[in-house]
């Protein structure tokens, strides 16, 4: 049976990890490499690492740092931030990324998603979509680390990235980001209902119950979270125990079979 993944999101700005509220007021939360080591040691399901500086400025991805980060990561690693071209994807995959997330550049050039999917496979492209609720009860997509409205409505954009070959959608509520008030469940449910590819819920997790809701009520295939792991004592392992207690299938650590 396929398991529901619990994915720590690591936001990386210049030399360290940061976490903000509403994609703003960033706080430093420590260096990147030890965090990746600890998560790998603790056998998390997967990691998402986004360079928020590259995303905002159009800089090249920092390949050298990604190479270092990948050294100690034996679980799937999605890398995002500043990706605008195919050759960058190839370099990231060589450096230790397994998937890339594309956000801002996709609005300028939606064909980038198709190109990555054709060359490296749909499984390699995570379309990252950041949205804010609008007055009409829908959601508008934002680019440039959540700063610039695109005018695109989330359902239409989610369907477009799916049609263009994205393998997963990471949907983040900017309004809920860093608040720890819970995921935007109507948003997750709307996006999960609009596409046939897996949807990763992001933005707002403050406790394990929020993760259970995202899966059971909103239909998320995976849950991503940052603040809960940076600023509280809560851990991915405990999150999985809570999901399991709610009847959701999760991966348990590997136990070698001594008899075999």
């Amino acid at each position: 049976m396929l398991k529901v993944r619990v994915i720590p999101t690591l936001l990386w700005k210049q030399f360290g990890l940061v976490k903000g509220v509403g994609f703003d007021s960033w706080r430093r939360v420590g260096p990147v490499l030890p965090a990746i080591r600890v998560y790998n040691q603790r056998d998390v399901d997967e990691l998402i690492l986004v360079d928020i500086v590259a995303q905002g400025t159009g800089d090249e991805p920092d390949f050298e740092s990604i190479d270092d980060f990948g050294q100690d990561c034996f679980v799937p690693l999605t890398v995002g931030g500043g990706i605008t071209r195919l050759d960058q994807v190839q370099r990231l995959l060589r450096a230790g990324a397994d998937k890339v997330s594309v956000n801002t550049a996709a609005y300028d050039d939606p064909d980038l998603i198709s190109q990555i999917a054709r060359r490296f496979g749909a499984q390699c492209v995570v379309a990252s979509i950041d949205v804010k609720a609008d007055e009409g009860g829908g959601w508008t997509c934002f680019r440039g680390a959540g700063q610039i409205p695109t005018g695109r409505e989330v359902v239409a954009w989610a369907r477009e990235v799916e049609d263009r070959g994205a393998g997963e959608i990471l949907i983040t509520s900017i309004d809920r980001d860093g608040t720890m008030e819970g995921y935007d469940l109507p948003l997750i449910e709307t996006v999960a209902g609009a596409v046939r590819i897996p949807v990763i819920a992001s933005g707002g997790a403050g406790n394990y119950g929020h993760m259970v809701e995202a899966v059971q009520q909103a239909g998320a295939s995976a849950v991503a979270a940052a603040s809960i792991f940076h600023f509280t004592e809560q851990t991915p392992a405990e999150a999985k125990a809570a999901l399991a207690a709610a009847g959701i299938p999760v991966r348990m650590p590997f136990q070698p079979d001594q008899d075999a």
Binding site: E46, V75, G96, Q123, I197, F254, D257
Partner: protein
């Protein structure tokens, strides 16, 4: 032991190299097909599209060199994900009116690579995430120490359907029974990614490096 990781222009090569290194073996990236025969064991990675990967194998002269290294010189080979699918006779990814018969693979293990929906899967695709495997009985050497129910990391929309049931050594379930691993003689393949399957994956890679080919 010299372990060659084949670099034919695709794949999460960084991850594969690191996963082998951590086992205490120094892998070499093989970017010329002719260099394969100098390796004791070979890993054929692959992410992406079957047609694109198959074309790259052909264009780089890998197909004949792989036949020599694997079928004649009996080097153990592990294909991963699309690397496993390429072991098949035919891939139906991208098959359509222009290409009704699909794309030829290496043909080391007879069978076809089909879309999960044609196998009856109606769940969300791609099949992404950790899924539990079920070993065949008796357990293949690739799965020594790895019991039924162990989770591995999968990410794919197509699956290998070997002609001979004997070639399947592990399965998983995702709205259909899906081939998780194959083996014929000195040729192994896993649909999941051992290099990204944490401790279970490390155990499987160690098993591959130690397995006796036959």
């Amino acid at each position: 032991m010299k372990v060659g990781v084949l670099d034919y222009g695709v794949g999460n090569l960084g991850s594969v190299l690191k996963a082998v290194e951590v086992l205490g073996v120094s892998p070499v990236l093989v970017d010329q097909a002719g260099d394969m025969v100098r390796c004791d064991r070979l890993i054929l990675p692959g992410v992406g599209n079957f047609i694109d990967c198959a074309e790259r194998l052909t264009a780089g002269g890998w197909v004949d060199a792989l036949r020599e290294a694997v079928l004649e010189k009996r080097r153990p080979l592990l294909g991963v994900c699309v690397g496993m699918q390429l072991l098949a006779g035919t891939g139906l990814e991208g098959a359509g009116p222009d290409n009704p018969d699909g794309t030829p693979g290496l043909g080391f293990i007879p069978g076809r690579v089909e879309h999960l929906s044609t196998l009856g899967c109606t769940l969300r695709l791609p099949h992404v995430g950790w899924n539990s495997i079920r070993n065949t009985s008796p357990r293949d050497a690739l799965f020594t120490g790895i019991s039924d129910g162990t989770d591995f990391y999968f990410v794919h929309s197509y699956a290998f359907v070997p002609e001979a049931a004997d070639d399947v050594v592990a399965t998983t379930d995702y709205g259909a029974t899906v081939t998780a691993a194959v083996r014929r003689g000195n040729v192994w393949g896993t649909q999941f990614h051992p290099e990204k399957s944490s401790k279970a994956g490390a155990r499987l890679l160690r098993n591959f490096l130690q397995a006796e080919p036959c």
